[in-house]
Structure formats: structure tokens, C-alpha cells
């Protein structure tokens, strides 16, 4: 499904290729492609410590359990309901979905099973990054996560523990254009849920991050000082408006937000280098407009453009948080709902999911090719999390949420394992999967590994910690109750480094 854009409505058309090239001043075409443009040590030669980054690749519509996980059991028990299997010991491809392109990444990745969001439902954009149930659904409503939930990328973006210095851009969020369905949630000053905007085209993201930086260094330095001066003057105008007697309390929410953002912008301008310290990526030519018109190669190029822009921006320390949201290449939502026992159906769905897996592998491989000052890779210092809004495709449930991660955040989590956290003896949910423990533990593990103290995230959920965990959800005979106590803990084994 693709909503109508205002393409046919307004006079403002999408960027033509000619305009795009003119806009970026022609400097991109002769540049080499990633990762070769980022020479070892170049990105952070001046840094004393290598920053950590978080990348999320968000999918929709769920998966088929039988083709997602390794066919061999995680048979090494670490603790009750904690089983592992080293990925290096699994012969052949990791699973039907995770093919040979993941083999070089095996030592640096984990596959997780048995992480649930009890009480949540399918197509909840709050599932993957908030670990939270949603409270409202409807044709005309927002899709709010429960309570005070915020998504993990937002929490990271606001944490001083994560951003030791403030970058020029807080986060880069991109998605395929056919789906306007942000998985990033914040709250405004009035406490209303705000879904963060995503770029719908990599060209837009590239433009914002790189293309406007065309001043020569001397001019740029002078302009930077003037921008800060003007920024302060403009702030006075905002404050003067704020103090006007005809500004209502509702108005103040809006104006205060502008003041905050402008102050933040001024701080970022002050902190950021005037000119880039690393190279810009080369953008592939991709037709814009409706997703349905793109060829398959265009779609791969589309995501490669996102990947290269994001990795270059991270290498420049212009951002440390990147999120890509994508649906299936074949847009087979109907297939995702069909009976999971139907092998033919699975294979057809798998064909499209594998294309997403290819993009995930490309992202991880390219991050691994960027060498940092300490000789390790960008991936080694980061976490790339590949997840989904739903688990099992048929019922779109939230039992055993699909989750694969890459990178150890600087050896803060163990990697190279297939982890199975399902409860033993198995207990089957009516939706067809065996239940496990709280999915929030995975997000907590990531946030802790990335340097966040619990005080930075525990308040963002249903009141009991990060995300939500409804221990009393029906059909489970109280089997979740013992796991409430550990919902805010790092995952056993993986997180206990």
C-alpha cells in the first residue's frame, strides 16, 4: 500500500536528478565508494577514544520462525532458560534466511530467540525500539506507545553518556518511501507522543548532512562565528515573542520548543568542525517517486545510498545514531499473514526477506571495513540491531521478537552466539510460539553496552522500567510473572561481560 503523496497536488515536485547534481555542486561524482574513502585511522585520528554508535534496521510484517532461526538447537545451558550455541559451530548457512553473506560476520553477531513483549500487538511501531505495547490504534489516531515510552534511538540521542560531545546531527533516520510509519518515539513538552520524522529518500539525507557544506575552510570558520551571533539574536526574538501577553500557554509549548531547538542548534554549530574531516560518499543514481516504479536494482541502490551516507556521517562523527525502516521488496503483506505451515508461501516470503538480509549484511560488512584509530572496526565499537515490529508473520504476534545484532559496542557484549531464552519446559502461546522472557532486556543490554546508566532510560516505559511488560497477559498461565523482576536487567550470558 502506498499513500498518495502530494506529488500531483502541489507545484513542488521531487528533486530532479539535474537539480540534485546542481545542488551538490558536482563534487560527489569523482569520489571513491565506501569503504575505501575512509582510510584506516582517518576518521578518528584525532580522537582519544573511539565513539560507539547505534544502528537499527527496522522491518515490518514479521517473519517465519522456521526459516529465521538456525535449524540446530542452542544446546549449551548457561542458566535456567538460557541456552546458547556458538555460531561458528553451525555447519552450512546459519538459517534459510541468514545465508553465506553472514558467514564472515558470525564472530561479530548474535541471533536472539525467546524475547517477548507480552501485552503488545502486531503492527505496533513501538515494539521494536521502545519494547512497549501501544495504547491506541486507528485510522485517525496516533499509535502511541504505553506510558512514558520513548524509543531507544531517542534515548541514546539525548544521553550525555552516549554523546560525550555534541555532534552536528543527533540522529539520521531513513525509510523507504512507500511507508510512512516511524518507529522512533519521543514526547513533547506537553507529554504528547511525537513520532520522529524520517527521511524518505537518501538524497534528502545526503543533502542535509553533506551537500550544504560547500564553503571553503576560511569562509566557513568566519561564517560559523557569525551564525552563532545571529543565532543568539534570533533567540532574543523568540524570547520576546514568548513574553508577549497574547501568547497563550499552548503557544508557549511551541515557542519554547523552538527556543530549545535553536539553543541546541547553536551549541551544535559551536561544537562541530566548520568543514568535514572526512570524505563524502558517492551517491548512486536512483529514480525518485513512487516506490512501485523502482526497479529491483534501484531499490538496492536506494538502500546502499542510505548506508553509505550513514556510515560516512558516523565516521565524521556527525551522528552516532542511524535508523533505517524498510518493508519487503515485494510488498507481500498478504503473504506474511498466511498460514505458517505453508512451505510454498514461506519460500515466496523468504525470497523477499532475503533481499532485506542482503542489505543488512551490506551495512554490517561496510561498518566492519571502516577501521578506527585503535585498529578495530567501526562495527566492533557499535551495535547494529536488525529487528521487526512483529514476530511470527501469521498472527503478527509479539512472542519471540526477531532480533539479530552485530558488533560488541567495544567488547561490552559477547558476540558469536545463537541465544535461546525460551522458557523450559516450553509453553506455547495460542499464537503458535513458545514464550520466553522480556524483550526489554535486549534493549537494556544494548543501552548499557553503549554506555548508558540506568538513570538514563528506566523512566521511559510503563512505570516499571524501560518499555512495557504485562506479566499477567492472558493465555500464559502466569508464566511471565517470575520474569518481571529481571525485565530491566541485561540479558544473561550475552550482557554479562
Amino acid at each position: 500500500m502506498e499513500s498518495w503523496s502530494r506529488r500531483g497536488v502541489t507545484k513542488m515536485s521531487r528533486i530532479s536528478r539535474r537539480h540534485f547534481l546542481r545542488g551538490i555542486g558536482g563534487f560527489t561524482l569523482s569520489l571513491p565508494t565506501l569503504p575505501s574513502l575512509l582510510a584506516p585511522g582517518k576518521a578518528f585520528a584525532q580522537s582519544t577514544s573511539v565513539p560507539k554508535r547505534f544502528v537499527a534496521i527496522c522491518n515490518y510484517d514479521g517473519y517465519y520462525e522456521s526459516v529465521y532461526y538456525p535449524s540446530v538447537a542452542a544446546d549449551v545451558q548457561f542458566a535456567p532458560d538460557v541456552f546458547s550455541k556458538q555460531l561458528s559451530t553451525i555447519g552450512g548457512p546459519l538459517s534459510e534466511l541468514l545465508g553465506p553473506q553472514f558467514d564472515p560476520l558470525r564472530p561479530k553477531m548474535n541471533i536472539y530467540r525467546g524475547l517477548d513483549i507480552p501485552g503488545s500487538i502486531g503492527h505496533s511501531a513501538a515494539n521494536m525500539l521502545c519494547g512497549a505495547a501501544r495504547i491506541v490504534f486507528g485510522d485517525t489516531s496516533p499509535i502511541d506507545p504505553v506510558g512514558n515510552s520513548r524509543s531507544m534511538d531517542v534515548v541514546l540521542g539525548k544521553s550525555k553518556a552516549f554523546y560525550q560531545k555534541v555532534p552536528q546531527y543527533l540522529s539520521l533516520l531513513g525509510q523507504e518511501p512507500s511507508y510512512n510509519y516511524s518507529m522512533s518515539f519521543d514526547k513533547d513538552e506537553a507529554g504528547k507522543t511525537v513520532r520522529l520524522p524520517y527521511d524518505r529518500y537518501p538524497q534528502d539525507m545526503f543533502q542535509r548532512v553533506f551537500a550544504s557544506r560547500i564553503l571553503d575552510p576560511a569562509t566557513a570558520d568566519k561564517f560559523k562565528a557569525k551564525k552563532i551571533t545571529i543565532g543568539d539574536l534570533v533567540l532574543q526574538d523568540f524570547r520576546s515573542l514568548l513574553n508577549h501577553r497574547r501568547i497563550s500557554s499552548d503557544d508557549k509549548v511551541v515557542v519554547n520548543n523552538f527556543v530549545d531547538q535553536l539553543q541546541s542548534l547553536n551549541t551544535r554549530i559551536n561544537a562541530a568542525p566548520s568543514v568535514l574531516t572526512c570524505s563524502r560518499p558517492t551517491m548512486r543514481n536512483v529514480a525518485t517517486g513512487y516506490w512501485e516504479r523502482m526497479t529491483e536494482q534501484d531499490r538496492f541502490n536506494f538502500f546502499s545510498n542510505y548506508i553509505d551516507t550513514m556510515i560516512a556521517a558516523m565516521a565524521c562523527d556527525l551522528t552516532r545514531v542511524c535508523v533505517i525502516s524498510m518493508r519487503l521488496f515485494g510488498h507481500d503483506h498478504g503473504l506474511s499473514h498466511a498460514a505458517p505451515g505453508n512451505r510454498e508461501n514461506q519460500l515466496k516470503y523468504l525470497e523477499n526477506t532475503r533481499k532485506i538480509a542482503r542489505i543488512v549484511a551490506e551495512f554490517a560488512t561496510k561498518m566492519d571495513a571502516v577501521k578506527e584509530a585503535d585498529g578495530k572496526s567501526m562495527l566492533d565499537h557499535s551495535i547494529l540491531f536488525w529487528g521487526n515490529e512483529d514476530s511470527n508473520g501469521g498472527p503478527h504476534s509479539c512472542i519471540s521478537m526477531p532480533a539479530v545484532s552485530f558488533g560488541s559496542a567495544g567488547e561490552k557484549i559477547k558476540t558469536g552466539y545463537y541465544m535461546d531464552y525460551r522458557q523450559r519446559p516450553f509453553f506455547r502461546h495460542p499464537d503458535g510460539q513458545n514464550i520466553g522472557r522480556s524483550y526489554t532486556q535486549l534493549l537494556v543490554t544494548f543501552m548499557r553496552a553503549l554506555g548508558l546508566p540506568p538513570t538514563d532510560y528506566l523512566q521511559y516505559g510503563d512505570g516499571g522500567g524501560f518499555g512495557s511488560f504485562n506479566k499477567n497477559v492472558s493465555y500464559t498461565n502466569g508464566r511471565y510473572i517470575p520474569y518481571e523482576a529481571s525485565r530491566n536487567d541485561v540479558l544473561p550470558f550475552i550482557g554479562q561481560v
Binding site: E2, I135, F137, T140, L170, V254
Partner: protein
Amino acid sequence: MVKSRSTKAIRTTCFLAILGGAMFAFQNCGPAFQLAGETSSSEGSTGSKKMNPFTCSAPGGQSVSSIRRLSKAQYANTLQDLLGGAAFAQIQPTVATLPSDEMKLSVNDIQKVISDTQMTAYQNVAEAVYNQVLASSSLAQSIGGACIVQATVTSACRDDFIRNFGLRAFRRPLSAEEVGRWGAQVFALGESSLDRVGLVVYGMLMSPNFLLKPEIGTEPADADTFALSPFELASRLSYDLTDGPPDAELMAAATANKLSSRAELAAHVDRLVSSARGRAKIRAFFVYWLNPQRYSAASFAADFLQGVDVVQLNDEFEREMFEYLDYMVFTKKASLEDLLTSRESFARGPAAEVYGHVPHVPNGPPAIMSAERKGLLMRGPVIATEGNETHPIVRGVKIRTRFLCETMGLPSGVMTNDPTFFSDEARALHSTRFRTDGLTSQGACVGCHRLINPPGFAFENFDGLGRVRAVERAYSVQGAFLAEHEIRTDSSNVLLGNVQSVNISNGLDVVDRMLEANTMPGCFVRQAHRFYKAQLESAEDDGCALSSSYQKLMVENSEAPLLEMFKSAYLHDSVFRRRMK
């Protein structure tokens, strides 16, 4: 073997297919159920279409819930007018990086606050314009006049530039103090003539007076309700009706204080609504109201498509619908009834085949659609659903939410792939209507689905692509043909906003019945109000404007009811004032 409905219990949930055909379990929904943040306090009484459902009790202020920023479209149009087309084309790629803020389904789509991404985008655009000025003496001259690029700039030249550019950027005159401040604190920072111009432009593009649309009036009194200044009124009219800044005529009228009566506004409102941007805004309203969709070929089986090029069909559906809307609103000066019942069409190519007529000849008279369909509601983009089988619940929800302004409640949280209803065997044995009925006719489901299902079933004679069909062809998940089923489109005792329930035989009846009562036209007025004001209506502040719009649309014998409705809220006394909340 498919279990019968009587032998297999249906779970204590109901299932609502919505937006893409996903199955969701809903309960507690009904016509009176309101969503958080979607409450409306201007509900009127149900009656005949000539009975105005809105009441005008206190024609005082027109509320604006909070100060609003320029939308992305408004921002782009304002920049385009400020810089000129050629310069704007250069920065358009940067403008495109502003986050999208279209109102797709509800006012909740528009975030009141901005993100760091948005602020960064504003700054990048301002910086891109600065860079352009720095690189182009001719652009600097076009912005600041010939004298501004001289080696020595007189104070008169500087002040003229600041005053004139400021007037256009802030949509109001700058005070002498402001002119002095921009000159002393920004212009003076520059190290060259181009730098000085660029810095002022950069700063003004970051100013609240450019990014926001303050409405603070000029009266000294502290009353909650106050008159807008002429320039604020000009901005309100222009941005609301065209998504663009006030044009020269409107600014001249504001300067001459000739925007103080409805008579003085009338010519401006006429001009704005009929301008290219005004027409685009009306198109955008219909996109918001109808939420048209396009589905890719991958959503359909090859046998189902029968060689139809889905991309071409979608393009033609879209083009035709816009041509139809333009024709009805501006050329035919149609009523709402015309819009929803006319069989005139401008379809060509595959869309003409779907609509059952020979291709429309460009600039020729409209073609006539086949007798099974009429009006907007039965056009492809509105009636299409995803996949080989229809989704009557999706169609029913659209009727209830978009046409009757009803809201849906919370999903209960459990979904199923119950083979009783979703297996290929079930599809082979039973029609979509039968299976949908089976899923939703028990327990708590009934409350919602007795409202949703009947109007959805009424369109079962249209397949997922919007083609008329005599029988339902069922397909397996793999797209193999399974069976044909009889189609039923009739229902009894259907609630469609009428005083009493009605019987309907098909979608044509749904339209006719809705047009008999004031609920659907009232909803249409409400939706237009929400779209143009980008906020929910309130009885206290908007009842008079809504009532006036309804009069124009349904009660008075207006020459151009639809067009008059779009204009009426801006030709009402309340447009001159704002009430603070």
C-alpha cells in the same frame, strides 16, 4: 477439511481489516466512541440534509489552539516567492530535506513541536541561501536593490533593503527599532556587500517571524479575544487558502487597512481560492479526506490482474480523479451531491476500461461511467484494496471514519490465522463476505461490525482494483484460482447517519442514503475545517464558521456550493478575530 462456523468457536475478539488488509482485533468501538485527541465538541443533531447540524451561538473569535509554524509546503512557497524561481530551484534539494508534515489522516499527523532534524534543516536551507547570495551578485541585487552591492552602502540603502525584505519575509512591516537592530547587529557583521546581504537573509530565515505565524493583534487590551492585525489576517487567509504567503494585492490591502470587512475580503478570497495554489490546496484536501491508495502489482495474482499494468492504472486513476475534482469544483461549480453522484469521467487508458467507457478525449466533454458506479466514492483510488480478495472492513471503516466522522476504538490485541477463515480451503468454500461475517458476528465484535460491515459489503461488486465484477473469484495465497462465489451487496437496518436505519442494496444506495441526512455533509464540512485550519473544530469558537459553511454547501441555493463552502469560513465575521486559549 474446513471446520464449520458452528463447530469451531471464534475467539472472543473481533477482527478489523484496516490499512493494507492487516487483521486487527477491535472492541469497544462504535459511532460514539472517541479517540484520544480526536474529540470534537461541535456535534450537531441528526436530521435531513437541509437541517444545519451546527449552531452559531456566539460569533466571537476564531480559535487557533496554538501558534503555528509554516508547514513544509508553506515554507517552500514562501521561499520561492522571496527568492524567485531560479534561485529557489537551486536550493530546492535542501528544502526537500525538511521533514514531511502533510496531514494525511488527522490533525494528529501534524506535530506541534519540531525535532532537531527540522531545526537543522531550517538552518541548512538558510545557509544554502546565504551561500547562493555569496556567489551571486545578481541575486543579492534582486533581493536588496542595485545599491546594496556597491562598495559603500548608504544607510538609506541598507534600511530599505532590511525594510523591504523584512516585509516580505515576516509578512508584516518591521518597526523602526527592528530595522535598526537588523542593520546594526546583523548587516554590520558582514565583511563584503554580498556577505552583508547574505547574513541578513540567513538571519531572517531563522527568525520566529518567518518560521512561525504569530497572531497577536495590535490592540492594547488584554482581552482573550482580539482582532488580528491586517497583516496577520492577510497571512491567515493566504496560508490557509493557498499554502503560500500573501500576494502583492493582499499586502497592499493590508497596508491600506482595507481588510476590515467581509466585502473587502471577498475579492481576495475569490482570487486566492481560484489561484494555482488555491486549487492545489483543494486537491490536497480531497487527498486528505479520501485517503486514496495505490497498491503495487505484487499485491495481486497474475490471473487476477489479467494483464493490467498496475502502475499505469494507478497513474491514470490519479490523474483522472484530479481532473474530475477540478472540473466539478471550478468548471461545473458542483454541489456535494453532484460530486458524489455524477457519472462523468475523464479516464483514459486502462482506467477508462475499468470505468466502463471509451477513453476520454483531452479537452473534450466528460465520458460517462457504467451504471454500476458514480461519483467519487466508486473511483479506483478510493475503492481499491490490497490483494486478490476485497477487504469490506477497510471499505466500511473508510465510510464510517472519513464520510461519517465516526471513530474506531482500541484493538483488543489478539489476532489469528485461524484456518476457518483464512485458509485456502476456506477461501474455496466461502465468499469474502461470508468469512468476514463469520469472524465478526459474535460477542463484543457485533457492536463495531454491525456498523462497519454493511457499507463495506455494499461495494463487494468492485474487486480490489476497483473493477466491476459479477462474481467473486477466490484465489489461494499463491495466487491460484480456487472458486467463484456469488456476490451479495445488500443489507438491512444499516446506520448511515440517517435518523432511522435504512436498507441498502449496493454502494450506489450507500451514497444516496448518506446524502439524505445531514451527518455525511456535516462530516464533509468538518473535515474541510480540520484540513484548512490544521486543527480540530470546537463548538465554542468554530460553530459559526461551520454553520456558515454548511449553509453554503447544503441549505442555500448557492451558485457553486462546493466552492462557496471552501470560501465561507474565510468570509465569516469570526475570521477577523482570534480567541486565546
